[in-house]
Symmetry: C2
Subunit: 344 residues, 2 copies
DNA sequence: TTGAAAGCGTTACCAA
DNA sequence: TTGGTAACGCTTTCAA
């Protein structure tokens, strides 16, 4: 069994209160007593129980981090950034993959509450506005990152998805594309919707349009679905000369679709991704994509959350950071009068 | 404040013992009382505190998962597989990135103990054999995955790294390569060492050799260092015609090095990775790599650990699964009498 | 400067 | 069947 403060107290011939004080650097304990207690703690390999401390009102030093899928490099990178941000403060992360499913989200949310995490960082979309109510009403410090829920009064740090989509569209427009399609995540993912809105807005401003049948929504298997949806797009009568994908995984799928159909990228088809994950840099050809300032975003949520933990009062700020287009080699000017690549 | 069993008991006009029993489905409670209690729990939105329960000897339903870096797709994929494996059982994962640093490992190990996790899964190398002693001696169920520590009596599930390295070497040999080099992780990473041993063994068996100066060890920035080390290799007098990289990230770096030096892959240089992460499939050209059976591995550790949790006694089995070479397009026969590609 | 004792939210044992 | 109550390991008054 693990040693407790009782063991330490007995061994050191003092009361448990003394041990507790030494542990927390509080109260006044004489030098010698303090040293003696430290000695015994080391000797017994005493590890104070965070559990027991938490029960008395102290923190658990554990944060919940909810993402759609930790194996998606974008979220893995976010997780790492958040981890690095809080590790020095003694916090650990409980990472939960929701698959964008409300039931999984709910399950994890109650689990995290029952496990008394100090705060929750949510990087996954939320459909049901009421989902967070239980958390918030109990005063759980909560913040959203990279995703947001409208009409929810909760601290939020996001990239400007609309602007990101618009930047992608402008890039494509500048290259001369006029026939642009979109592959998005399931239509419930708001950030995807915002990105599409950005694209559409920009196209309309340029006198073009983005008809609904040129927007395809994928399921959960991002790469595979991205490929499948891109195929649909590329095999129709009036195939687009450029596809904007709402994340890098989908873009990778589109890349594969093009390869399978012997459509050259970027000569015959331009593809733009989103997130600027490592995949974008590694893909063939390297993917033009929209980068979110993930490091700043992570740093910011953690700061906001820590404030909230300290002041006990919700901060509820909404911070929007600007994304940036990273041009690589998956985009170029369309070939002259290129109306499509039917591959019967 | 959150509702407690006291609140529920008072509201339902029963004792806390009754509430506790209902909560755990134990003891004998009359139907009506039980239903009434359930009603009150729902009404109060009562969430039992795992913390408090843990203090009385029950489990925390939390597992620690230690990996070198959660943003490395290989480990992110492992994390996801483990998560899926345990989620149904009510467990959450505390994920910790060690960067292969012993001090970070140690820090996290004591943190996890203090937070009373039920078990620890270690997917990161351990240099100091004594590092796990405190854990093990306190009876913490522990298992290693994808990494191992020799002379440590602890449950282990690994891929046969030696065989993996050998498979890579045989593949290269079969293609006709005779001048093969290696880029490895820092020399402290045992699995890397085993893979190299496999390569060397196979080369020697074929009448060739793997001189030490053809084995380069990277630092922590895997891709960048992989690139840098590959450059060193490629720019020397007798550049190799093939490079085996101890993981996909390093291989990606090697790919970049080749690109920078205008060396064509696979025509002028073959590259083999390890892990078969998503990066390998996405790279340009797609990477020939050695796949570990990660899903089976994860499933197995979890089963072993759950046994250990149930029977209270360490299982300490060592399970070795066979890896498999996945041939893609980063390897081919060397060009005839190709002795090197000086790029002075 | 030190110690005794009252919680914190559960569980589990023992009476009733 | 039920309820009272002593743990569990720690923090935090409050006295001494």
């Amino acid at each position: 069994m693990r040693a407790t403060i009782y063991d330490v107290a007995r061994e050191a011939g003092v009361s448990i209160a003394a041990v507790s004080q030494v542990l927390n650097g509080k109260g006044k304990i004489s030098e010698e007593r303090r040293n003696e207690i430290f000695r015994v703690m080391a000797k017994l390999n005493f590890q104070p129980s965070v559990i027991a401390a938490a029960l008395t009102g102290k923190k658990t030093y554990t944060l919940g981090l909810l993402v759609p899928d930790i194996s998606n490099p974008f979220f893995a990178e976010i997780a790492r950034a958040v981890e690095d941000q809080v590790h020095g403060l003694g916090y650990s992360l409980m990472i939960c993959s929701t698959d964008n499913k409300d039931d999984r989200l709910e399950r994890y949310l109650t689990l995290l509450q029952q496990k008394s995490v100090d705060a929750v960082i949510i990087g996954t979309g939320i459909q049901d506005t009421q989902m967070l109510a239980p958390l918030l009403s109990k005063g759980m410090p909560t913040a959203m990152i990279a995703r947001e829920t409208p009409n929810m009064d909760v601290t939020t740090v996001v990239a400007n998805d609309f602007a990101g989509g618009a930047a992608a569209a402008r890039h494509l427009l500048a290259l001369g594309h006029t026939h642009i399609a979109v592959v998005a995540e399931r239509s419930r993912v708001r950030s995807s919707l915002e990105r599409i809105r950005g694209v559409r807005h920009t196209l309309v401003e340029a006198g073009l349009s983005l008809p609904d049948d040129l927007v395809k929504y994928s399921g959960d298997a991002l790469i595979k679905d991205g490929k499948y949806k891109a195929m649909e797009l590329l095999q129709c009568e009036e195939a687009p000369t450029a596809i904007f994908c709402c994340n890098d995984l989908l873009a990778i799928g589109a890349l594969q679709a093009a390869k399978d159909l012997s459509i050259r990228v970027p000569e015959d088809l331009s593809i733009v991704g989103f997130d600027n994950t490592i995949l974008a840099a590694v893909a063939d050809p390297p993917l033009t994509t929209v980068a979110q300032p993930t490091d700043v975003m992570c740093k910011t949520v953690v700061e906001l959350l820590m404030q909230q933990l300290k002041h006990q009062s919700p901060v509820n700020r909404r911070i929007v950071l600007e994304p940036e287009l990273v041009a690589r080699q998956s985009t170029s000017a369309p070939r002259a009068s290129n109306t499509g690549h039917q591959t019967t």
